[in-house]
């Protein structure tokens, strides 16, 4: 189980969990019709390094001659309901079919114990309203900094405490920096 904080501070922080965050998939205009396609994620967690977020905030609150610490966007990842995830239906409403995990599937246990590099399992405190959740590090995306700063005011849920957010950050960085090796032909015996 992880520890969380529920006091909202004045800026976006690494480990913040926010609800109802939009990801803009596509904007196009054709024959006078503007079409915007977006995915509304029920919950996301902020992954951007906290020192970068702190410097961005200072730069916005105390304007200087240069703004080289401003962030253009903030990196986040969706939180999926773990029950939906293991049933393979966490993305069913956006037309993506996912693997179904059998209750005896050992890979599900690997995910729950954070031994699978791609996923991070979060068990929130029992007295908190969020269900067990899973971060899929492959699904990270960025949102404009002004947008997420506004969303923090109205859609803040909680913040994952430092030790646990460092764990998430470290595992995410490790996943992102992995080296893809080609499949080698099997040696003839």
């Amino acid at each position: 189980m992880i520890k969380i904080k529920t006091e909202r501070d004045g800026r976006v922080s690494q480990g913040d969990v926010l609800r109802n965050i939009d990801y803009i998939e596509r904007i196009q205009e054709a024959r006078g019709i503007l079409e915007v396609s977006k995915i509304a994620f029920p919950y996301i967690i902020v992954l951007t390094q906290d020192c970068d977020l702190e410097q961005d905030n200072k730069s916005r609150e105390i304007p200087k001659e240069t703004q080289d610490k401003l962030l253009i966007s903030v990196l986040v990842a969706p939180l999926y309901n773990a029950e939906h995830f293991f049933n393979g239906e966490h993305l069913s409403t956006i037309g993506i079919t996912s693997r179904i995990f059998d209750k005896k599937d050992r890979f599900a246990d690997y995910i729950k114990s954070n031994q699978s590099a791609r996923f991070h399992f979060l068990e929130f405190p029992s007295d908190f309203s969020l269900v067990d959740s899973i971060i899929d590090f492959k699904h990270y995306f960025s949102v404009p900094t002004p947008y997420i700063r506004e969303m923090k005011k109205a859609n803040y849920v909680c913040t994952v405490s430092e030790l646990y957010r460092e764990d998430i950050s470290h595992r995410f960085a490790s996943f992102l920096s992995r080296i893809g090796l080609p499949d080698m032909p099997k040696a003839k015996k």
Partner: protein, 61 residues
């Protein structure tokens, strides 16, 4: 959904609809589609498609 709900969604904000003729453009008749709900989908991502008609009003230049 009334277009007022998207009051801030000017074409300039969205970037892709700028024109060189400098006509003033406004977005009207907003229509929103939300991906079908499932009974078990309270906390699943949803795809939302917004279609808006762009009108050109030269009087506001």
């Amino acid at each position: 959904m009334p277009s007022n709900d998207y009051g801030s969604m000017t074409t300039d904000d969205l970037g892709s609809a700028t024109r060189s003729d400098r006509e003033h453009e406004t977005v009207s008749e907003v229509h929103e589609e939300i991906s079908p709900e499932e009974s078990y989908s309270v906390s699943k991502p949803k795809r939302i498609i917004i279609r808006a008609k762009i009108t050109h009003d030269k009087d506001q230049d």
